[in-house]
Structures are given as structure tokens and as C-alpha cells.
């Protein structure tokens, strides 16, 4: 039998897939909500949005937000308390990130040891976590601009939060696209997010 090593704890795997469902619903319903009053000179094609119309999209958005937030809290609390974040995402030096991103573009980024994230991965995953947190914070200001004005005023109140919410979504979307592309390039990383194990 091949020796296997554990790379992803069960909590992380469950949180990852619940997050996939939650973020997919949040982004596609969010696009429909955006279309009701676009910030920029474009709209999202209806075929890739969720909810059918504004009221439907809002129902999806405000239902999935609970899954997204509760799952996110469990994941972050686990990540901090268990040392998972510290072990997997730190240390992180800007120089190493530049080096690894450069290597990735030249097709020379090594993935021999899947138990250790390279600097580009660390930066992307950390940025993703922070962007998702920003989506929660800006989302709360959009949902309850009066109740959360005490901190909403520091991000440009309701209108500022609208733009930040949009840009954070765009950042998440970009990272997810790159992430999925990288998984397609290194397919053996995919089963590990389900079984939690890779060949040693």
C-alpha cells in the first residue's frame, strides 16, 4: 500500500466545500442584485446569475449569507486556535511571493511536496480569507447601514461599502479562477481536498 500523508484536516475540508456552495450562491445572486442598479457601465448576463429577478436574488443572497458567515467563523476560529493558519500560511515574505509567482509564470513552480504551500499559494489563500472577511464587513454595512454606521463611516458609509463589496467580490472571483486553473494543472491536489491525504 502506498504511504499517505494527511494534508487537509477534516474541518478544513468540510469548510472548503460548504464555502464553495455558499460563495457560488453569494456571487451569482450578487450579480443579479448588481444588475438592478449597476455601479459601472456593464451588467452580468442573466444566464450566469441566480434568483431570476431582484427579489429572488435577494432571497438567495440573504439565505446563503448565514451559511457563508457561520461556516467562515468556524473555519477562521479553527484556523487560528489549531495553529492551522500559522503552520500552513506563515511565514510569508513578499520577496518569496514574487519569486514563486515568477516561477509559476515560467512553468517552473515545483509541487513536489503537497504538504507545504509555496509562497504564491500562501499569499493567494491569505488574500482570499481577508477578501471574504471584507465581503462580510462591507455586506453588513450594505444590509444595515444605520446599525453598523459606527464602522461603516470609515469605509465611505453605504456608497463606499457598495464599491468595496464589489471590488472584494472581483478579487475573490479572480483568485478562484486562478485556483481552479492551478488545480486543473496539478490534478492530484483535487482528491486531497476530499480525502485529506496525498501520496507521501
Amino acid at each position: 500500500m502506498e504511504a499517505q500523508v494527511k494534508v487537509h484536516p477534516l474541518v478544513v475540508r468540510i469548510a472548503h466545500w460548504l464555502n464553495v456552495v455558499a460563495v457560488l450562491i453569494m456571487i451569482t445572486s450578487g450579480w443579479q442584485i448588481y444588475n438592478a442598479s449597476p455601479l459601472f457601465d456593464f451588467s452580468f448576463p442573466d444566464e450566469i446569475t441566480l434568483g431570476g429577478w431582484l427579489a429572488g436574488a435577494l432571497q438567495w443572497h440573504f439565505a446563503a449569507m448565514w451559511l457563508f458567515a457561520v461556516n467562515g467563523i468556524v473555519y477562521v476560529v479553527y484556523g487560528i486556535l489549531s495553529g492551522h493558519f500559522r503552520r500552513k500560511l506563515l511565514p510569508l515574505s513578499p520577496l518569496a511571493v514574487l519569486r514563486d509567482v515568477g516561477a509559476a509564470f515560467r512553468g517552473r513552480l515545483a509541487h513536489d511536496d503537497l504538504t507545504v504551500y509555496n509562497a504564491a499559494q500562501r499569499a493567494a489563500y491569505l488574500a482570499l480569507i481577508l477578501l471574504l472577511m471584507l465581503l462580510v464587513l462591507t455586506g453588513l454595512v450594505l444590509w444595515k447601514p444605520v446599525q453598523f454606521y459606527w464602522y461603516g463611516q470609515f469605509m465611505g458609509d453605504y456608497e463606499g461599502a457598495r464599491f468595496l463589496h464589489f471590488f472584494a467580490m472581483a478579487g475573490v472571483f479572480l483568485i478562484v479562477v486562478v485556483h481552479v486553473a492551478m488545480v486543473a494543472l496539478v490534478p492530484r491536489t483535487f482528491p486531497s481536498m476530499i480525502t485529506g491525504r496525498v501520496k507521501a
Binding site: 464553495v20 456552495v21 451569482t28 442598479s37 431570476g52 438567495w60 439565505a63 447601514p145 444605520v146 463611516q153
Partner: protein, 250 residues
Amino acid sequence: MKRMGESFEKFRSAEVKRMERRLFLKQGLSLGALAMLTGCAISDDEGVQNLLTRISGWNDDAQGWLFNPNRLAPEFPESRVTRPFPFNAYYSEAEVIDVDGGKYKLELGGMIKERKPWTLPELYALPQVTQITRHICVEGWSAIGKWTGVRFSDFLQRVGADTTAKYVGFQCSDNYSTSIDMATALHPQTQLTFKFADQILPPKYGFPMKLRMPTKLGFKNPKHIASIFVTNQYPGGYWEDKGYNWFSGS
């Protein structure tokens, strides 16, 4: 024995791997299917719609719990007022109704002691306050406006409304309707509004009066109010009955 065990192990792991691969494929497909489904298809499913409606009802309770009756919406200087202030209704601006102010009487109903109708001069004689606050539309846009009128909690007290009731409902001359929770009705910035930007409300902004609430989304602010009633029976509303969240508070 040992050999057999080993080959079984090998066989098992190959079989398990195949199963796992199938599982990945299936999961990948169902995720893809979810992504590919248009909002209509999945949202039209009755079970899904019932679940979403139930969660929306639960969100009403969550928002009621989050709502601080003493927290005020930010107010702005006059220079921040949006001009021209956008028109919005369930019909176009050309279809705005013209209410005859001379004949107008505000009707009161439900759990209210003094239900005599009010004429406009009687209403205008009440003490008035002004606010410059942000109006936020459920569509996402917002605009700052200046509104003047009677503090709604003062009015409810004056007519002897039962403020322990759950809801205040509004019927409008343009066949619009909506309803709000009592906590928001009694909020200090909830205003029975007669003026916009120091002028008597023009028809497009809701003549002869609207209810202005900076703690609720725009569609919760009824215009052309014809009658007000206090009740414990959930009254719903025009957009609420179509699926928009009832509480919709800020």
C-alpha cells in the same frame, strides 16, 4: 496469507480510487449544474422557494432583533442633498396620481382610539420636524433628501394608537400598500412627511403625504397615504407579497 492480503489491499485501493474518481466527477458535475442553472430554473422549484420564503421570514426576526430603536440614521448638511431627487414607484413618472388636497382626508383604522379622519390643514397645524437623511433603494442606489413633517410616534400617541400592537399598515391612493413593525413606527426619525426640500410634497414624491423612515429601504416608505391602521395581523404589502423581504430595515 500475507501475499493474499497484499493483493487484496492493492485491489481495494484501486477500486476505492475508481469510486472516489466517480464521486469527484459527480460532485463536480452537480456543482457545475448548480452554476449553470439559470436563477429561474432553480428558484422556480416549489421546495426551494418555500425554503427561501421561510428563511426570509426568519430574517425578519433577525433584523427585528438587530434593530436598535434608539440608534439614529446619520443626518447630512443641506449641501449633500441629491438634486434632482430620483423618482421611483411601481409605475412610471407619467402615471403619477393627482390627489385633490381640498377633499383629502386621512383615514385611521384598527387599534386606534380616536379614528376621526384628518384634513390637510389639521395635519399641517401639528408641530413639525426636518431631517436630511439617506434614502436607500432596494435596487442598490441611494440619494439624500430633506423631509419635513410630524414625528410619527407623536402622531400615533396623539390619536391613541395601541403602541403594544405589532404592525402599522398603510393603504395608498395609488393602490400601493405596505406595513412596518411598531418599533420602527416609534423610531424618533420616523416621520409623517408633508414637505420635500421645504416645498409641499409634489405629486411625484407622494402628495399629500408619505411616511419617511431612514431606517428602512425606500419601498417601505409609502407615498400618497390614504389610510393608516394598527393591527396584530400581518398586513403584508405590495412588494412584500411579491417576495421582497418584509422587514427590510437599515
